[in-house]
C-alpha cells in the first residue's frame, strides 16, 4: 500500500489556531514584567494572577494530554475541530501548550482529510521515548521523519520523499545522512565564540554531537535505508524499529536480495516426495492435507526459516500449476486432499518449436536420435 501523502504542518499557527496575543501574550508580558522588577503590591497581585493562570494552564495541559492519550485518538490523532468543540472558550489557551509540546517533540501535527472530505489539522501525541528521539530535530527533518513514518513497513523511495516534502535533494541528503566534514564546517560557522573556544578543546566531539542532534536521522537510528527485491537500485527509507514488509524483502524466498532458486527447488522436491510417500500411509491413499505437509516439513527441518502455512501453500500451488500435484477430494473438515498427479498421455509429443521460425526450411535438422537432415540452400533469384 503506498504511503499516504500527509502535508506536514510546521507550526501550530499555520492552520486553525491563531494565537490570541491580547490575552495570553499580555499575561505573559505582565508576568515577565513582574519578574523583571516592579511594584510590590501590584507585583504580588500580578504574581498571584500569574500563578493561578499557571495552575490553570497545568490543568489544561493535563486535560489536553489525557485527551490525546485516549485510545480514541491514538492513531490518527485529534482533529482541530474536535479540540475546538471540546475546549470551547479555553481553546485559545491551548496555544502555548501546543507550542511547548511541539518544542519538546511530544506533539506532531499533520494535515489530513476529515470525514467531511476537507483538509484538517490533526494533533497526535508522541510518547516520551519517541519525543526524546526526535528532540533537537529541526522542522524539515521532522517533516522528513513523518513522511517516512507514514510509509510504514514498506518504506519510501527518496524521490518520493523529495516530492512530498518539497525539500531540495542536497538538503534531503544532509537530513538523511550528513557527512562529517560538512557537519564540521557548518557547525563551526554557527557556533558562538565561547563555544568555539570550548570546541577547540574537543572539536570533533562537540561538532559531531551537534550534527547528530540536528540532522542525521540515519546516524541517530531513527530511520534506516533498505532495498527492495523488486527494484534493487532504488533506495528506500523506513523507520529504524520497523521490520520491512514481505513485499520489500521478498520473504523467505530471497536471500541477500537474490531469488533463491535452489532453496525453492529443494522445498518443492520435498513436498512432492511428501505427497507421494505420505499418501500411502495417511488416509489410505486418499491424499495429504496442507497441514500434514507443513508439519512434515517442520519435523524434517528442511528450512532454516520457519515457513508459514501460507508459504507452504504457495509452494504447493506451484506444484499444482505444473500438473505435478492435483487435488483429489476434501476431508470431512473441508481441507483439500492432494495426491501426486497421474502421468497422462497428453497426445502432444512434439516439442520442437523451431519449426515456427521463418528460416526453418533452410536449417539443418538434428533429431533426438542423431538423425540429421542437411539444410537447403536458399535461392534468391526472382
Amino acid at each position: 500500500m503506498p504511503p499516504t501523502k500527509r502535508p506536514i504542518v510546521t507550526a501550530a499557527t499555520a492552520n486553525g489556531i491563531k494565537r490570541n496575543r491580547t490575552l495570553v501574550g499580555s499575561a505573559t508580558t505582565g508576568a515577565a514584567r513582574s519578574n523583571n522588577g516592579g511594584g510590590g503590591g501590584v507585583g504580588v497581585a500580578i504574581k498571584s494572577e500569574a500563578s493561578s493562570s499557571t495552575s490553570d494552564n497545568g490543568e489544561l495541559r493535563e486535560e489536553f494530554i489525557q485527551l490525546l492519550s485516549s485510545a480514541k485518538y491514538k492513531g490518527r490523532g485529534i482533529a482541530n475541530s474536535v479540540l475546538k468543540s471540546h475546549f470551547e472558550s479555553r481553546y485559545p489557551e491551548l496555544v502555548p501548550i501546543i507550542n511547548e509540546l511541539t518544542r519538546a517533540s511530544r506533539l506532531t501535527m499533520s494535515k489530513l482529510a476529515s470525514k467531511a472530505g476537507e483538509a484538517e489539522v490533526y494533533f497526535s501525541l508522541l510518547s516520551v521515548e519517541e519525543a526524546t528521539k526526535l528532540q533537537g530535530l529541526d522542522a524539515p527533518t521532522k517533516m522528513v521523519y513523518q513522511v517516512i513514518e507514514a510509509s510504514g513497513n514498506k518504506g519510501i523511495w527518496t524521490v518520493d520523499v523529495r516530492v512530498q516534502t518539497n525539500i531540495q535533494q542536497a538538503t534531503l541528503t544532509k537530513i538523511f545522512k550528513v557527512r562529517l566534514f560538512i557537519s564540521f564546517r557548518s557547525c563551526r560557522s554557527n557556533l558562538s565564540p565561547p563555544a568555539r573556544v570550548s570546541s577547540s578543546l574537543h572539536p570533533h566531539r562537540q561538532i559531531f554531537t551537534r550534527a547528530q542532534k540536528k540532522k542525521q536521522l540515519e546516524t541517530r537510528r531513527l530511520i534506516k535505508p533498505i532495498k527492495s527485491v523488486t527494484a534493487k537500485t532504488k533506495k528506500l527509507y523506513m523507520l529504524y524499529d520497523l521490520a520491512p514488509a514481505k513485499e520489500i524483502t521478498g520473504g523467505p524466498w530471497y536471500s541477500e536480495y537474490e531469488f533463491d532458486h535452489e532453496f525453492i527447488a529443494e522445498l518443492r522436491n520435498f513436498i512432492l516426495m511428501c505427497v507421494k510417500r505420505m499418501n500411502g500411509g495417511l488416509g489410505v491413499g486418499k491424499g495429504v492435507t496442507l497441514v500434514q505437509i507443513a508439519n512434515k516439513m517442520t519435523q524434517a527441518n528442511v528450512s532454516r526459516v520457519r515457513l508459514s502455512l501460507d508459504e507452504v501453500q504457495q509452494l504447493l500451488q506451484t506444484l499444482t500449476l505444473d500438473y505435478l500435484v492435483e487435488q483429489r477430494g476434501v476431508t470431512e473438515g473441508g481441507e483439500a486432499l492432494f495426491v501426486a498427479a497421474k502421468q497422462v498421455t497428453t497426445m502432444c509429443d512434439f516439442g520442437w518449436w523451431d519449426v515456427l521460425s521463418p528460416d526453418f526450411h533452410f536449417r539443418g535438422i538434428r533429431f533426438e536420435d542423431g538423425v540429421y537432415l542437411s539444410p537447403h540452400e536458399p535461392h534468391h533469384h526472382t
Partner: protein
C-alpha cells in the same frame, strides 16, 4: 518476389501466402491448400484456392477469377489465326506443324496444345501464364473437372438451385470450399489404421482406404475396389507376414467391440490367380466388412452426384434422397459459356458430346472424371466399372457375384446408393479411445496403481467410459435401417445418455468376465460401478442423470465429455507452452488463468519466480499472443509512467494461438518433407534402381540414402504427432 525455395513450388497462383516462406495469415487454410495439392494435384489446389479466396461462387464466377489470375497477355490477332486453323481442311497437318514450330521456339509453359476429336483437329493456344503443374489453368473444362473432384471428395458444399429443374440453364448453383474438410485429407492413414484397430479386420480397412481414396462410391464399386486394394497389399507384402494378416491381437485388442474374427479367407484374397471359390469367399468377407462399417456408422450414405445422362432420362428416383438431387455436373463450351450438359430443354446450349450422344456415340463419351485421371484400383487392374470411373449410382455392369452378395443386403444398402467415409464417426470413435485412455490413466485399476501406490480409482473406469462414448457415437452416426421420425427425435433427445445394459456390447471381454464373475451378475455390478464412478469429482467422469436405485434399466448416466476434454486440452496447452517457452511460462499462464487480471508482481509471487523473470516471460508470451496486456491509463495524456499494466489470459485466444501454432508447425513440416522429397527425387530413383543396374550400386550412396530416409521418417512421425494434437484441439 524472390522465391527462396528455388524450384520448389507449393502454392497456387491464387494462394493466400504472399511469399514462399512467409508465415501464413491463417495456417489452417494454408494447410488445407497444401493437403489438396498433395492429394489431388496443383490444378485442384488452384480451384480450391480460388473458391476460398472468392467465397461462395458460381461456376462462371469461379472461371472468370481463375482466368483473371492465371491467363497471360496474348496477341489477339494471333489467337484469331490459331482459332482459324480449326476451320481449314487438312487442318491436322497444318495445325500440328504450327504447334510444333511454336513449341520449339517458346518456353514449355506456353506451348500450343493440339486437341484431336473424332470430327477434326482443333488447335488451341495455351493462354495460361504458367504450366499446369504450377496450378495455372484457364481451360474451363479443366476447372470444371477440378470442381467435380472437389465435389466427389466432399470438399465443396453446393447450395442454391432453388428446387427448380436442375437441368435448366437458369438454375444457378453456388459452391463453397470447406477448408476444414480438406485438412482431413492428411488424416486418411489414421482413419484406415483406426478401423483396423477397431474391427481387427483387414478387409474393413481396405474398404475405408478405397472410399477415402475415391471420395464417394457405390457399394458395388467399394467391394470391387477393396478387393483390388487387398490384392495389392498382398502383393506388396513379404510372404512371411501373410499368416499374420488381420489377426494381430484379435482377441485382446478389439476395444470392446464384438467383431467377426473369421478371417480364414485372407490368404486367398486379391486379384491374382484365384479360383471361383476363393474369390467368392473373399468377396463375401468384403461385403460383410462393408455392411458392418455401414451399420457401425464408419461409412455413410450420401447423395450421389447426378450424371448428365440421368438428368436427360428424367430419372424418377433422382429426388428420392439417394440419387443426388442438387448435385450434378456442368459443362462449358469452347467460348467459356457455361451450360448444363446433357439437358434437353429448348434454348439451352448443348455440348458436342451431347450431340454425338444423340447420334448413338454416347458410350464413347469421356466423362470429366475420367479426364482428370482419378486413381483407382480398377484402372490398374483393368477391370471395368470401378469407382474411379465416376459412375455413381449408375448402371455399369458389375461382377455378378458382387451384385448377388449385395442383393441380400438391399435393406441396408439400396441399389445405386453412394457411400463415403464418415469422418465425424471416425472422430467420435477416436475421441472415445482418447478419453477412455485418459480416464484409465487418471483412475487406474486397483491392481496397477500409480507410482504412489494409490488405488483410489474404480476398476475398469477407462473401459466403461470408452464403451459409453462408443455407444453414443453409434447412436449418433449409425441409425437403424428403418427409423420413424418419432424414433429419430427420441434418439436425438437421449443422445449421450445410456443405461448399463447399453454398454455391454461395447465392453471388452475381460471386463465383462470380471463383472459377471462377481456376486450379483453383470447388470448389478455394472450399475454399482457406474454409480461409484459418478461419485468421482476430481475430475468428474460420469453424471447420474436418473437415479439407479429403483430404475428399471439400472439408472441413466452421461459421460462428462466436456470436462474431460477440457482437462485433456489444458494438459496439451500446458505441454505446448512448457516445451515452447519453458516451465515457468506454462506456470505463469496457469496463474493468469486462475487469477484473471494481474500485475506482473502478483504473477511473479504466485509463480514463485523473480519479478524480472516474470516480466520477461510475460512479454515473451505477449509477443507470441499467448497472454494479453491491458494497460489502464490514469491520466488523460496516457502517461505510461502512471499507467497500470494488467496481464490476462483469454482462454479462447490462448486456445486459438496454440491451435494456430500447431497448424503452422504442421504446415512447415509438411513443406519441408515435400521439399526434401523433391530435392532428393533423383537420389531416390537411383536408390530404387540400385538392384537393377550395376552403376547405381554404391555403399556410400546406400548409406546416405538410408540416412535421408530416416530423416523423412522422423519428419513423418513429427507430422503424425502434430496432427494428433490438432485433432484433439480442433476436431474432437
Amino acid at each position: 518476389m524472390a522465391n527462396s525455395f528455388g524450384g520448389f513450388l507449393h502454392t497456387s497462383p491464387l494462394s493466400n501466402l504472399t511469399s514462399s516462406t512467409s508465415r501464413p495469415p491463417d495456417p489452417h487454410v494454408a494447410l488445407s491448400s497444401n493437403c489438396v495439392r498433395d492429394h489431388l494435384g496443383p490444378v485442384v489446389q488452384s480451384v480450391s484456392d480460388a473458391l476460398h479466396s472468392r467465397g461462395p461462387s458460381t461456376l462462371s464466377e469461379l472461371t472468370s477469377t481463375m482466368r483473371e489470375r492465371c491467363m497471360r497477355d496474348w496477341n489477339r490477332e494471333r489467337g484469331r489465326l490459331v482459332d482459324g486453323l480449326l476451320l481449314l481442311d487438312g487442318g491436322t497437318a497444318a495445325g500440328s506443324a504450327a504447334a510444333a514450330n511454336d513449341n520449339a521456339r517458346r518456353p514449355p509453359h506456353t506451348t500450343t496444345t493440339t486437341t484431336t476429336t473424332a470430327m477434326t483437329t482443333k488447335v488451341s493456344m495455351n493462354k495460361a501464364r504458367g504450366p499446369e503443374s504450377a496450378g495455372f489453368v484457364v481451360d474451363p473444362s479443366r476447372i470444371c473437372a477440378a470442381l467435380v473432384v472437389l465435389l466427389r471428395h466432399s470438399l465443396v458444399d453446393v447450395s442454391g438451385g432453388g428446387g427448380g429443374d436442375p437441368a435448366s440453364p437458369r438454375t444457378r448453383y453456388t459452391y463453397t470450399f470447406l477448408p476444414d474438410r480438406a485438412r482431413l485429407l492428411m488424416r486418411h492413414s489414421r482413419y484406415v489404421q483406426h478401423v483396423r484397430d477397431v474391427t481387427t479386420d483387414e478387409r474393413a480397412s481396405a474398404v475405408v482406404e478405397c472410399l477415402l481414396l475415391n471420395g464417394r462410391m457405390t457399394a458395388e464399386d467399394v467391394v470391387r475396389g477393396a478387393w483390388g486394394t487387398i490384392g495389392r497389399r498382398r502383393r506388396m507384402r513379404p510372404r512371411d507376414d501373410d499368416d499374420d494378416d488381420g489377426r494381430d491381437g484379435a482377441d485382446d485388442n478389439n476395444h470392446g467391440i464384438d467383431v467377426d474374427t473369421n478371417n480364414d479367407d485372407y490368404d486367398n484374397e486379391g486379384e491374382g490367380n484365384v479360383d471361383d471359390v476363393e474369390m467368392d469367399k473373399a468377396l463375401r468377407g468384403i461385403v460383410r466388412a462393408f455392411v458392418k462399417l455401414v451399420e457401425w456408422g464408419y461409412v455413410e450414405a450420401v447423395k450421389p452426384i447426378a450424371r448428365n445422362r440421368d438428368l436427360d432420362r428424367g430419372d424418377k428416383n433422382r429426388n428420392d434422397g439417394t440419387n443426388g438431387a442438387g448435385e450434378f455436373e456442368f459443362g462449358m463450351d469452347e467460348d467459356g459459356t457455361i451450360v448444363v450438359e446433357g439437358g434437353t430443354n429448348g434454348g439451352r446450349k448443348r455440348s458436342a458430346y451431347d450431340a454425338r450422344e444423340s447420334n448413338g456415340e454416347g458410350d464413347e463419351r469421356p466423362t470429366k472424371k475420367r479426364a482428370i485421371g482419378l486413381r483407382t484400383d480398377d484402372d490398374e487392374d483393368g477391370g471395368g466399372g470401378g469407382g474411379g470411373s465416376g459412375l455413381e449410382g449408375g448402371d455399369r455392369r458389375h461382377h455378378p457375384r458382387i451384385l448377388s452378395l449385395l442383393s441380400s443386403q438391399r435393406g441396408l444398402v439400396p441399389r445405386g446408393s453412394v457411400y463415403r467415409a464418415n469422418t465425424s464417426m471416425f472422430h467420435a470413435s477416436l475421441r472415445a479411445m482418447a478419453i477412455g485412455r485418459l480416464v484409465s490413466e487418471m483412475y487406474p485399476d486397483e491392481g496397477d496403481g500409480g507410482g504412489g501406490g494409490e488405488s483410489d480409482g474404480p476398476r475398469h473406469a477407462g473401459a466403461v467410459v470408452r464403451a459409453a462414448l462408443m455407444h453414443a457415437a453409434r447412436e449418433e452416426h449409425a441409425p437403424g435401417v428403418e427409423e420413424s421420425e418419432e424414433g429419430r427425435h427420441g434418439r436425438m433427445a437421449g443422445l449421450g445418455t445410456f443405461s448399463p445394459p447399453d454398454l455391454v456390447p461395447y465392453l471388452p471381454q475381460d471386463v465383462i468376465g470380471s463383472l459377471r464373475s462377481q456376486i450379483g451378475g453383470i447388470d448389478r455390478n455394472l450399475t454399482a460401478l457406474l454409480v461409484r464412478m459418478s461419485k468421482l469429482r476430481h475430475p468428474p467422469v460420469l453424471l447420474e442423470v436418473e437415479e439407479a436405485r429403483g430404475h428399471p434399466r439400472g439408472g441413466k448416466f452421461e459421460v462428462c465429455t466436456r470436462q474431460l476434454l477440457r482437462r485433456m486440452r489444458d494438459r496439451i496447452q500446458h505441454r505446448v507452452l512448457s516445451s515452447h517457452h519453458g516451465v515457468v511460462a506454462a506456470r505463469v499462464v496457469s496463474v493468469l488463468r486462475t487469477r484473471g487480471h494481474c500485475e506482473s508482481d502478483v504473477v511473479a509471487e504466485d509463480a514463485m519466480v523473480p519479478a524480472r523473470e516474470a516480466r520477461e516471460v510475460l512479454h515473451r508470451l505477449h509477443r507470441d499472443r499467448y497472454v494479453d496486456l491491458f494497460d489502464m491509463h490514469m491520466t488523460k495524456t496516457h502517461n505510461t509512467g502512471t499507467a497500470i499494466f494488467l496481464w490476462d489470459v483469454i482462454p479462447s485466444r490462448l486456445s486459438k494461438t496454440v491451435i494456430d501454432n500447431v497448424g503452422t508447425a504442421l504446415l512447415n513440416l509438411r513443406l519441408r518433407r515435400q521439399h526434401e522429397v523433391e530435392v532428393g527425387k533423383d537420389w531416390m530413383d537411383r536408390a530404387k534402381e540400385s538392384g537393377a543396374t550395376e552403376e547405381n550400386f554404391h555403399e556410400g550412396d546406400k548409406r546416405k540414402f538410408h540416412k535421408f530416409c530416416m530423416g523423412l521418417d522422423r519428419l513423418d512421425r513429427a507430422c503424425l504427432s502434430l496432427d494428433e494434437t490438432l485433432m484433439v484441439l480442433k476436431d474432437f
